[in-house]
Symmetry: C2
């Protein structure tokens, strides 16, 4: 099943979207918002699935053309956004290039930071940022949205709580990252609002590409119309089940919590990168200095995962723009 | 004006509470929840204030006895929780005692970490935690709840967006902290759900004790019925206006965002501490080793700010308990 949220209200208006992303139908008779559906998932899932079946068969009353430009993030705001860094290839490249202290137990304890979740952007929204000198970067990721997870859940229990898969652009400002990491308090100004592909999907939608709690699909990333990378999500060192269990070790996670994979990254180099910082790290290692610049206002990034030639989540396709200064700032 | 949320629904039910915390009246005719009121603050503030005036005069229809045990956190879940560390005395003690690398620009750039905001506890709720060996600690703090803050807001603009003051127990698990700080990704498992005093108040409620965007009130902290500290909130190095402006430098903050001061801490030592870790740091510096133990299951902490002998926010008074293991964990 595929779900999206259209503009309207703080939490958007839930619609069911056809497998080919051509048609949609309002789901307000089942749940007005995706957050509400997730909070009553046991009750709503089957009914939404039935509506999805009717929509794909051309039998849903009130169906209309799905326009991704009218979509917000599937959850325009979420109870929680926990972003991992589960592709160790990415972490190792950054360590080597920037001479960072290695994290001793990175292979046994997942890395997760708490992100802001009050103001996500839609797939084609402009990304407003204050300053080109901040090292503007994208990060292509996969993520999952969970039903409520109790404190102390095992990875096995955690896996059973995965309701939906999503695709994310975790916009990052690299000039803040190193200092914020050194303070020990973690990323804050380095992480402005993240963006989401328009459609969230149940794991069955990607068939055999969903296994071991990982999304085994290439994530195709273009920057200003040019190939940047197509790394595969299957190379996560920790699965989403491990990330969720780590996040729930000392507190419960509300329904609607989003867990991110971190930048998709594959060893070997042939698949390119899903963020500029990683390409710059490779350049620094191979040539002594990075050469790919960070993004400027007006630059665009596009990210899409495809299965059997068809889009899975729809595309993130957005432009970086200068944020307006508040009138009385 | 004083506001609280009673049990009922994910966001609680908004009530106006009398200045002496003895009476309350439902505010559903103005806004069903505090979050809704904050999202329409310009429209709701005056009407809530008028109801507060009637309640204090004994003229509010439908008023009833206010029972803090029926209150949730003022915002049982918030769009965002950004916790500062604005009392430099606390940071310096921790650095000295535990031989941490000093943060070079701690006097010019505020420290803030992103906390989880999906599942706050009420003032008298038990605090369920999985393991006594995790170094269970309290942290007594003040905080503010803001109306929407635009990206790039100055400290001056930020100050004008402060809607309410709150009092917080930022429960912390000290055994996770040092490792999570070393990874650079910041606190995660170290920060289970925070707890809030039952009542949020507008700044005018503390009169001359609200100045320079700081709460100049002693925070009285008892552990198991014994004095632990009464440090004053006025000694913040950065005011809440600075913390908000820092948080809004690269993204806007939704109405209902909560900004915390970090552990209230005063130089000199006579005022005690608002967390065990700080007292242990002082013991380590003075005697070579910490001696005050962290909390055990069944231990209690109480935190209250008073003005002219009356309680301001009501008391946090809660017990640490062992969390239930999920049935299929």
């Amino acid at each position: 099943m595929k779900l999206a949220s259209l503009n309207g209200g703080k939490d958007g208006r839930l619609v069911v979207v056809s497998r080919d992303l051509q048609r949609a139908v309002g789901a307000e008779a089942i749940a007005p918002t995706l957050l509400d559906a997730l909070e009553r998932w046991a009750e709503c899932e089957l009914r939404l699935q039935q509506l999805y079946t009717r929509l794909n068969a051309g039998q849903a009353d009130g169906a209309f053309t799905f326009d991704p430009h009218q979509a917000t993030a599937p959850l325009p705001r979420a109870p929680q956004w926990c972003d991992g860094s589960a592709f160790l290839n990415h972490g190792r490249l950054m360590e080597t290039a920037f001479n960072l202290a290695p994290i001793p137990d990175m292979e046994t304890i997942p890395l997760i930071y708490q992100g802001g979740s009050d103001d996500f952007l839609g797939a084609t929204d402009d990304v407003p940022l204050p300053d080109e000198s901040h090292g503007i970067d994208f990060e292509g990721e996969y993520g999952v949205i969970v039903d409520e997870v109790p404190l102390g859940a095992s990875a096995q229990l955690a896996r059973s709580r995965i309701a939906l898969l999503v695709q994310i652009n975790d916009v990052s400002l690299r000039s803040f990252g190193p200092r914020e990491m050194r303070t020990g308090f973690g990323f804050f100004q380095a992480k402005p609002s993240s963006s989401f592909a328009p459609v969230a999907v149940t794991p069955d939608e990607i068939g055999e590409h969903w296994r071991d709690a990982r999304v085994h699909l290439d994530l195709h990333v273009d920057c200003n119309g040019t190939w940047f990378g197509n790394p595969n999500g299957g190379e996560m060192h920790f699965g989403f089940d491990d990330l969720i269990a780590h996040a729930a070790a000392t507190r419960r996670l509300s329904a609607g919590t989003i867990i991110g994979s971190g930048t998709v990254s594959n060893a070997g180099g042939q698949k390119g990168s899903a963020c500029i910082a990683e390409r710059r790290a490779i350049e620094a290692i191979e040539h002594g200095a990075p050469k790919t610049p960070f993004m400027r206002f007006g630059d665009r990034v596009r990210m899409e995962a495809r299965r059997d030639g068809g889009t899975v989540f729809g595309a993130i396709d957005q432009r970086i723009v200068r944020a307006l200064t508040p009138p009385m700032a």
